[in-house]
């Protein structure tokens, strides 16, 4: 394994509850070798780690996967593949609902704008990023200098290696690592099951266990029109995991807050999460109402609907956790104890806590405006997103790379254009209701006289304005986007397109909010957390993984059930139980098995394990992560965690919290007996 940073950098922050059993989403360049050896007697070798790292795949739209053949075959979750499935669907052919199987390579369907990344190298650039910011530099200049330094490092790396190069901020600003990826943009759909079995139990069973989900999907990456060679892959293990077995989950956990200070968590609890919950609930209600208009509307809305319902349930679980005083009291006690130790040995480090508390207050004054306008929560629309990119691209292109907004730096443009010029369909009616709803939400949050909102609405109500905007834009057409992308800022400013005009009208206030965020919140926080991290490292040495940042991590744990109210919840479910549950619900949605499953029941071994759980430490973003045994073989595909795992953003426990995975045996049995996917089984090494 080529790891450019040899030393462990893992810092303990006692802000989190004391390190427990299998806690941690570990950096691949700083794995917990000793703990794993001590707890499980397993030696994590460089070779093992390197192969796994190169077999792991990041879905750039927010998920994980892995190579499972030497010919570029990728396995992930159906719910991670769903965005690509939706974009390949038409009113006549709904691949999300119906599934798909390419019988030959020629039938593998190219995906519109899917980008997969494979991590090849990690380099610690902490000192070079920190060196760009002299002590005592005012926040606004510091933020700019740091951003410029990061952009320069990335550009230098990309120019030199030809690899996608992204700096990952760790420990909330305590460290900076440069990740180099191989990038695949020719990705094709190989196989997807029906959503009814991938998401059996629907929202009711989401974040619950026992579960019965065939949440898998296969893609293949191509290079130069041919399947890519991927010699580092995870062979399927036919038997799957056993009770008590050590397993690893390798993937890209999205975001945790275990090292956040108490004041930061209180801010999350009292401001950020309530806002986010309101936003996703608003969008969910709106999409549900749209979906009710008919089957075609339901088809259009299904992807976004899954996504907001999933977010709603995740946020709701986090919120309950933060309202539970048992959790908050433990956090308070841990922070107090750390502060007392700092007070004795490193009193200056305690100033960082005040700084973070101060930045929460600063944030409270404009967080909602920032989310609504700069993060475009007020403009929930593909078309607006395109319009904003076009407007900003024209403006930013005039500047040198390191002075641009980060997403328009040279190294990011290729991925951006993949999205911007994507031929994926955009549904005007859905755009209209999403835009009407999000403008309405903004009015609920800010009142009807907010000047930026009024700029966006003109004299109209949100509903009337949304209709006017969607009728007045041609951004649905890719050719029109390309034409506009060719214009300079002055020419673009003279265009009449309603959505472009909206993006122009709100750009000034939005940029001002972003500047404020960077200067008043992000930069002070980064500096303060870096101070705390250095303090902890000085006191304790490396015992804790950094919080998740949608970058590659290694988690590990033990396969095993748990108790609820004195009753044992078994560590795996079976096909047979899924049929039983469907029968109990008269096979009505969301407990409706696809026809293929109902008709194929006789052919299946009903005792085949379906889904299983382990204690490994995961979070959203880990969806599609391979579950791997000691031999480096794939024994499962992670797809969820149970309700007890919803507080994992803040604390890890292994008492009842579990991640949930599809059992490798279930995949093979279903591919063979139900889907007739013989070529796939051959490629997976399971058939001749």
């Amino acid at each position: 394994m080529k790891v450019l940073l040899p030393a462990l950098l893992s810092l303990t922050l006692a802000l989190s509850a004391p390190g427990r059993a299998d806690e941690g989403m570990w950096l691949l360049n700083a794995p917990p070798r000793e703990r794993i050896k001590l707890d499980y007697g397993f030696e994590l070798t460089d070779a093992w780690l390197e192969r796994v790292m190169r077999a792991a795949v990041r879905f750039n739209n927010g998920g994980s996967g892995s190579f499972v053949s030497p010919e570029g075959l990728v396995i992930t979750n159906h719910h991670i593949g769903a965005d690509a499935l939706q974009k390949l669907s038409t009113p006549q052919r709904d691949l999300v609902q119906q599934g798909y199987l390419a019988r030959t390579r020629a039938e593998e369907l190219p995906c519109a704008d899917l980008e997969l990344n494979v991590l090849l190298e990690i380099e610690d650039v902490t000192e070079r990023v920190e060196a760009a910011v002299k002590p005592g530099t005012p926040s606004d200049q510091a933020a700019e200098a740091r951003s410029a330094a990061m952009t320069a490092l990335e550009k230098e790396s990309a120019d030199r290696t030809g690899l996608r190069s992204d700096i990952v901020t760790l420990y909330q600003g305590g460290a900076y690592h440069l990740y180099r990826f191989k990038k695949y943009t020719d990705v094709r759909l190989v196989m997807a099951p029906e959503q009814a079995i991938a998401f059996f139990g629907g929202d009711a069973h989401n974040f619950e266990y026992p579960r019965y989900n065939f949440d898998v999907c296969f893609f293949r990456v191509y290079e130069n029109g041919k399947p890519a060679a991927t010699p580092d892959f995870l062979p399927f293990n036919q038997a799957g995991p056993q009770a008590g077995e050590l397993v690893f989950v390798v993937g890209n956990p999205g975001r945790t807050n275990r090292l956040d200070t108490v004041e930061r968590l209180e801010h999350l609890r009292d401001l950020t999460l309530p806002y986010r919950l309101a936003r996703v609930r608003h969008a969910e209600a709106n999409l549900l109402q749209y979906a009710q208009l008919g089957p075609e509307q339901a088809r259009q809305a299904q992807g976004e609907l899954y996504s907001v319902a999933n977010a709603r349930k995740a946020y709701a679980g986090q919120f309950q956790g933060l309202l539970n005083d048992n959790i908050m009291s433990a956090k308070r006690a841990a922070q107090k104890s750390l502060q007392e130790r700092f007070q004795r040995q490193l009193p200056e480090a305690n100033l960082a806590f005040q700084e973070i508390a101060r930045s929460q207050k600063a944030l409270a004054a404009f967080e909602r405006e920032y989310s609504l306008f700069e993060q475009a929560n007020a403009f929930d629309s593909e078309l607006f997103s395109i319009a904003r990119h076009l407007v900003r691209l024209a403006a930013e292109r005039r500047l040198p790379g390191h002075q641009r907004l980060r997403e328009y730096r040279d190294t990011a443009l290729e991925s951006l254009e993949l999205t911007l010029f994507s031929p994926a369909p955009i549904e005007p009616d859905l755009e209209k209701v999403r835009l009407a709803d999000s403008l309405t939400f903004a009015a609920e949050v800010l009142g009807g006289d907010d000047p930026t909102l009024r700029k966006a609405l003109g004299p109209l109500s949100p509903e009337l304005r949304a209709a006017e905007l969607v009728a007045g834009t041609r951004l649905v057409e890719v050719a029109e986007r390309r034409r506009l992308a060719g214009l300079d800022a002055d020419s673009l400013a003279r265009e009449k397109d309603a959505m472009i005009r909206l993006a122009l009208a709100v750009d000034g206030p939005s940029r001002a909010l972003r500047k404020r965020m960077e200067t008043e919140v992000e930069e002070p926080e980064r500096r303060a957390y870096a101070q705390i991290a250095r303090g902890m490292f000085a006191l304790e040495g490396p015992t804790m993984a950094p919080d998740a940042t949608f970058s590659l991590r290694l988690a590990y744990g033990r396969v095993g059930g748990y108790q609820v109210g004195g009753k044992e919840v078994p560590w795996f479910t079976t096909f047979g139980e899924a049929f039983q549950l469907a029968a109990e619900h008269q096979n009505a949605a969301p407990f409706q098995l696809p026809v293929r499953w109902l008709e194929g029941k006789e052919r299946l071994n009903l005792r085949t394990p379906f889904d299983f759980v382990s204690t490994a430490d995961t979070i959203g973003g880990n969806s599609g992560s391979p579950v791997i045994n000691r031999a480096g073989q794939l024994v499962g595909i992670n797809f969820d965690r149970n309700r007890y795992g919803l507080v994992r953003n803040f604390v890890y426990t292994d008492q009842q919290a579990r991640h949930i995975a599809v059992h490798s045996k279930a995949v093979l049995e279903a591919l063979d007996r139900l889907y007739g996917a013989q070529a796939l089984l051959v490629e997976l090494g399971q058939k001749q």
Copy 2:
């Protein structure tokens, strides 16, 4: 017609747009005789009005209806009867979904806690209420004095007449009328159709038109175990209305805000409505998720789910209206013009506008806490509602009637006990999720450290606390409620019941919020609006009806369609179109016709008019109102208004806004051909 107030009291407030065509929800003791005569050539006689008043029925739980036979037969909407239907249902027999037909009087099903009121007399008591408050009295004393005076007047009336006696506040405080009702509490279910046809189109078609709803339901009032004699009733008109015909809608519109000042409307737009929308959306999402768990959960949740979804759509329409600057600009211009006229002739009246603006500011400081704790939005639970009544009843009983909280005055106790000791089933699982959700909502609104909320939660998260509360109460049992209602306040305070303890714990802060509301907002507003009303009356005389207050009103209008985007929307729909729409949706919910309709299709005249529209001025609360022709016959049952009517809270227009009613012919045809309700048709005078 016995009208104790002979003089017209109707005041114009030019705050509303200038009186248009058929605008107005008129008092029955101040009907717009001249306008109707002028516009329609119809003479509204005292006899006509008195019969209609005595034939109109108020559903105390929030709706309208009318007598349609001399033997106590009442017609209303299915969605008004639904609460009673739900309470009569069991897991084995879902009357809401399946409907019901009593073949004999013996089969008429007694409803658990349904109270119907029939208005007999109106008396103007403005002077006596105003006399209780001397000019210059501080707000807190004024509020108490006014409340005491109202209670005394009601008690005196009830004692003297034996009738339910309620004072209705009109013109936001400009007038007080005492309404005397005959009260029926032995109400029995006679006939209800299936919800699928009553609410055909579901939420998607709610507040839309064209519509195809058989939204009717029949009850019968009993006295001394026998059908009550109701000589004043509305005979069914078999032909129904004709295009262009003058019709009347008589019922109890719930609430409008046409006379509110601009500052009050801005407060509604920027604070009240966003809060309410968030609350109902929260509850709706929660109930939808509960309903998804299975058919029994769906059955339990259906009533509440309809109610919050309906509120969400109504609030959303109001919100869009207030965000439409065309509406707000008209309101601003009207208010400015009124203020200029006041300035010239009655400059002191202009102070009232400032007073109302001031009271909005005062309200903003505690409105959310008031809604959450005093209005119990944080405790969305039947069991909590019972607990609070028990706790407050014990405390209030110690005081003389006129010093009590208004809902515990002597004249209100009988109706209160009907609810308190209702044998209607309470579902503990549903209670748990509603309570968890509403406590969570409170935490989202107020943050996790709010002292009153923390008192309610203890150290637990909302979900855990809700489970503890429901497990720790015996208030599901009516006998236990009766036992607790017998205790004095001190004994009650020693009870261990978890819900009682919660109600005790939050009672102090809740009462304080109520006091603040009465003193800082309601009383100053009442006085200010009275001043404006008097000013207007002095300037203009009587040209405008008071805002709706869930008291009996007369609206009138013309039967007729309207145009949308240049296309004519016909004034009525037909049975045939409903079958066509169902077929287009593969008869899938919410466009699913009941089996009875599908199988009975051949027997029906498919050209029978189903629903129709008129320009009459209605709002929520008018549901179930009879639509009456000049001859005083029933030609329809109002059940909704279209989307253009959603802004009727603030402005009336007759351009596209319409109320929607079931056509009398549709009722007779369906009862005859589909429901085999021959006895009912005989009673309605349509068969021998």
